[in-house]
C-alpha cells in the first residue's frame, strides 16, 4: 500500500471546498427537517382522519424508501414538470424532507411526553389553542427532544455524500473529482472517510454536553 502525502496536500483545497458544501447541506437540511417534521407532527394531531391518514401514508412512504431514489426523483422529475432548481437546492430539500419523516416521530414522542396536567391546566386557564401550543406544550416538548434531534443531524451528516449522485460537489464529490483527475483514489477517499469519523465524533461529544446541560 503506497501512501502519498503530497497527494493529500494537493487534495486539501478541494477538501475545504467540499467541507463547506457539506456543512451547508447539513445546516439547511437540518433546518428544513426540523420545521417540516414539526408540521407533520402537528398535522398528525388534527382530530380528523382526512388529515392524519394522507400525512401518515406519505411520511411512511418517504421514510421507507431510499433517499438516493428520492434524490433522483426530484432531480429528474421536477424539471419535467417545469420546476427547475439547482442541484444543491434539490438535494437540500430532498434530504430535509427525508429526515423530516424521522423528526416528526421525535416531536410526536416529545409532545406525548408532556404531562396531561399541563393540558388540563391550559384548559383551566382558558388559554386559546394557539397559546396552549406555543406557550405551554411546545416549549416543554421541544426541550425534551433536542438530543434525539441532534442524533438525526449526525445521521444526516453521513447521508450528505448521497448528493454527489446528483452532481453536487460536497466532500465525496470533490474527492471523486480529484481522484479522477489525478488517478489517486486512496488518499482523498481516506482523508474524507477520516474527516467524517472526526466530525461525527466531535458532534456526538457536543451533543452529549448539550444533553447534560438540558437535563439540569
Amino acid at each position: 500500500m503506497k501512501w502519498d502525502w503530497s497527494a493529500v496536500a494537493d487534495f486539501m483545497p478541494y477538501f475545504w471546498d467540499g467541507l463547506l458544501v457539506t456543512l451547508q447541506i447539513l445546516v439547511l437540511g437540518s433546518l428544513i427537517s426540523f420545521a417540516l417534521g414539526l408540521v407533520w407532527a402537528l398535522l398528525m394531531r388534527v382530530p380528523t382522519r382526512w388529515v392524519t391518514w394522507p400525512v401518515g401514508a406519505v411520511t411512511e412512504f418517504v421514510r421507507n424508501t431510499p433517499l438516493l431514489v428520492q434524490l433522483f426523483f426530484l432531480f429528474y422529475v421536477l424539471p419535467e414538470w417545469g420546476i427547475t432548481f439547482s442541484a444543491l437546492t434539490t438535494g437540500v430539500f430532498a434530504i430535509g424532507l427525508h429526515y423530516s419523516t424521522y423528526t416528526m416521530q421525535v416531536y410526536r414522542a416529545g409532545i406525548e411526553a408532556v404531562p396531561v396536567g399541563q393540558w388540563e391546566a391550559a384548559t383551566a386557564l382558558n388559554l386559546p389553542l394557539l397559546r396552549t401550543w406555543t406557550a405551554v406544550i411546545l416549549p416543554q416538548a421541544v426541550r425534551r427532544v433536542v438530543p434525539a434531534l441532534g442524533n438525526y443531524v449526525i445521521s444526516m451528516l453521513k447521508d450528505t455524500p448521497l448528493l454527489m449522485a446528483i452532481t453536487v460537489l460536497e466532500m465525496l464529490g470533490e474527492a471523486r473529482l480529484f481522484a479522477q483527475q489525478q488517478f489517486q483514489f486512496t488518499e482523498p477517499l481516506t482523508v474524507i472517510g477520516f474527516a467524517f469519523i472526526v466530525i461525527s465524533y466531535l458532534a456526538s461529544l457536543a451533543l452529549r454536553a448539550l444533553e447534560r446541560r438540558l437535563v439540569h
Partner: protein
C-alpha cells in the same frame, strides 16, 4: 414501459434482494461478534469492539463503499466482484449499528439471570448461549427490523458504483425512455413494498422467538418507527 424494460427492473429487484440478504447475514454476524465482544471480560477486547463500532458508525456508508471499491484493490491487490464488495461495505457498516443493538439488549437482561448462571457455575460461554442470548434475542428484533429497512435503503447506494440493482435499473429505464416520473414512481413503490414485507416478516419472527421464552410481543409505536440509533449520544438503543 415495454416488457423488455420491465425485465430490466426485475433483474434489478433480484440484485437488490441478493445484496440485501447477503449483507444482512454479514451484518448480523458482525453485530453479534462485536456486540458480545463489548461485554467481554478483557478490557482489550472491549476496547477493540468499541473502536470498531465508533469507526464504522462514524463514517458514511457511501464513503465506505467507495473505499472498498477503489482503495482496497490497489492496497491489497484483490479486486472483489461488485456484489461482494457491496456486501462487504454494507455488512461492515450496518453491522456496527447492529452491534449497539446487541450490546443494549444483552445489558437489558435482568442481572439476576447472569448471577444465577454464575451461582450454578455455568462457564461464560454457557451463560451467554443458554441464559443471556435466548432472553436478549427476542428484544433485539424490533430494532433489528428498523435496521433492516435502513439496510434496504442502503443497498441503493451501490447503484452509484454501477452495480445493476433496482435504483440502477431505474436510471437505465430513464435513459431509455427519456422520461422519469413514471419509472421512479415504480421504483419507489417497489422499495416500499419490499420494506413492508420485511417488517411483516420480522414481526412474525419476533412473535415466534418471544413465544419461546413465554412472552407476548409488546408493540409500542416508538419502537417500531425509530431509526436505528447512530451515535452514543442521546442514550443507548
Amino acid at each position: 414501459m415495454t416488457s423488455g424494460l420491465w425485465e430490466l427492473v426485475l433483474k434489478g429487484v433480484w440484485v437488490t434482494i441478493q445484496l440485501l440478504v447477503l449483507s444482512a447475514l454479514l451484518a448480523t454476524a458482525v453485530s453479534f461478534v462485536v456486540g458480545i465482544g463489548r461485554t467481554h471480560r478483557l478490557k482489550f477486547v472491549r476496547f477493540l469492539a468499541g473502536l470498531y463500532t465508533e469507526v464504522f458508525r462514524g463514517t458514511s456508508a457511501l464513503v465506505m463503499i467507495f473505499w472498498v471499491f477503489f482503495v482496497l484493490p490497489p492496497a491489497f491487490g484483490w479486486q472483489l466482484v461488485p456484489l461482494w464488495a457491496g456486501t462487504l461495505a454494507l455488512g461492515l457498516t450496518y453491522g456496527a449499528y447492529g452491534s449497539e443493538i446487541v450490546r443494549g439488549a444483552l445489558a437489558a437482561v435482568d442481572p439476576a439471570q447472569r448471577e444465577g448462571g454464575i451461582a450454578l457455575s455455568f462457564t461464560p460461554w454457557q451463560r451467554m448461549r443458554l441464559i443471556l442470548l435466548p432472553q436478549a434475542v427476542p428484544e433485539m428484533i424490533p430494532p433489528f427490523s428498523n435496521l433492516l429497512i435502513e439496510l434496504l435503503k442502503g443497498t441503493a447506494l451501490v447503484s452509484i458504483m454501477g452495480m445493476g440493482d433496482l435504483a440502477f435499473s431505474g436510471n437505465l429505464v430513464r435513459l431509455a425512455l427519456q422520461e422519469s416520473a413514471e419509472i421512479y414512481t415504480y421504483i419507489l413503490v417497489i422499495y416500499f413494498v419490499i420494506a413492508f414485507l420485511l417488517t411483516r416478516l420480522m414481526r412474525g419472527l419476533e412473535k415466534k422467538l418471544k413465544a419461546g421464552v413465554g412472552k407476548a410481543p409488546v408493540r409500542k409505536p416508538d419502537v417500531e418507527l425509530k431509526r436505528a440509533e447512530t451515535t452514543n449520544a442521546g442514550g443507548a438503543v
